[in-house]
């Protein structure tokens, strides 16, 4: 029921935000577990983010990710075209 509600919500307010965490980790030679330890967020939640299944991100989490990966939010997320 929750999945159906979530799907309905996605259908009503779709988003085209894509997360590039996997690419950033690869270029820095870091694993998701390493990042989770340094950011202070669970591996499960970072996996949700990495696989574009997150619905929202706390600013504190985004700040911590950018500090650890030495990047900007625009490096972590992008909005794909609507076409």
């Amino acid at each position: 029921m929750r999945a159906a509600a979530r799907a309905a919500d996605t259908e009503e307010r779709p988003h085209r935000v894509r997360c590039h965490l996997e690419d950033l980790l690869e270029t820095r030679g870091m694993t998701l577990t390493d990042l989770a330890d340094r950011v202070g967020v669970s591996v499960v939640n970072l996996s949700v983010l990495k696989n574009d299944r997150a619905r929202a991100v706390r600013f504190s989490t985004l700040t911590a990710i950018c500090d650890v990966l030495d990047c900007q939010p625009g490096d972590v997320f992008s909005v794909t075209s609507g076409t």
């Binding site: 029921m1 929750r2 997150a54 619905r55 706390r58």
Partner: protein
């Protein structure tokens, strides 16, 4: 998500409470099944009664038929009848059966709520319905069962022709107790809180 306080119950305590509730529910369910079956194997039954004020306190109750006796015990006066029809015998145990079913249901649903709390999902979508079920069980056991008991008493007294205006017993049909009603309201309030919590948890689902 960070928590700022230690849980009231440890995981071990919660699991112990779950097993206790399940054992209580199982025991109550067995009572609810066995009691009426047992009652059908014996010829008589007993019901709580209220004596009129002018009856002698030695319980020498006038007009009692043969095989019937009045027994005082712990502030409750019981009319014990040696022989009753099967339907009336079942009616005499109906309040206890209803109470046992209420305990079984409430124990089962409370165990379900505690299981989700132990699993770190206190605002599981099923918990509001479970708590509403507990409220209904409290109402059934605390309010409806006593009324059924009074109906049973009246039916047995009518069967023994002891319900006349000059009879030794006072007929009571409705006797409301405040405590079960208040407890039902408390549990319903908790169910509403859990319903809103489930909605908030759903909003936060997928939040990193």
């Amino acid at each position: 998500m960070t928590t700022t306080s230690r849980p009231l119950l440890s995981r071990r305590s919660t699991n112990l409470a779950i097993w206790c509730l399940l054992a209580l529910a199982a025991g109550a369910l067995i009572v609810a099944v066995v009691l009426p079956l047992h009652r059908l194997t014996v010829p008589g039954g007993s019901v709580p009664v209220t004596l009129t004020p002018d009856v002698d306190q030695t319980f020498d109750v006038p007009g009692l038929p043969r095989g019937a006796s009045v027994i005082p015990a712990d502030g409750v006066t019981t009319l014990d009848v040696f022989s009753l029809p099967a339907g009336l015998r079942l009616l005499t145990v109906a309040p206890t059966v209803l109470g046992a079913l209420a305990v079984a249901a409430a124990g089962w649903w409370l165990a379900g709520v505690l299981r989700t709390v132990s699993a770190g999902r206190p605002f599981d979508a099923r918990n509001p319905a479970r708590l509403r079920g507990v409220a209904a069980a409290v109402l059934a056991g605390g309010v409806v069962a006593p009324v059924v008991g009074n109906v049973a008493s009246t039916a047995v007294l009518a069967h023994l022709d002891l319900t006349g205006p000059d009879g030794p017993f006072t007929l009571v049909l409705l006797e409301l107790s405040l405590a079960p009603l208040l407890f039902t309201l408390v549990v319903l309030a908790a169910a509403e809180a859990f319903r809103r919590g489930a909605a908030l948890a759903d909003d936060a689902d997928g939040l990193v």
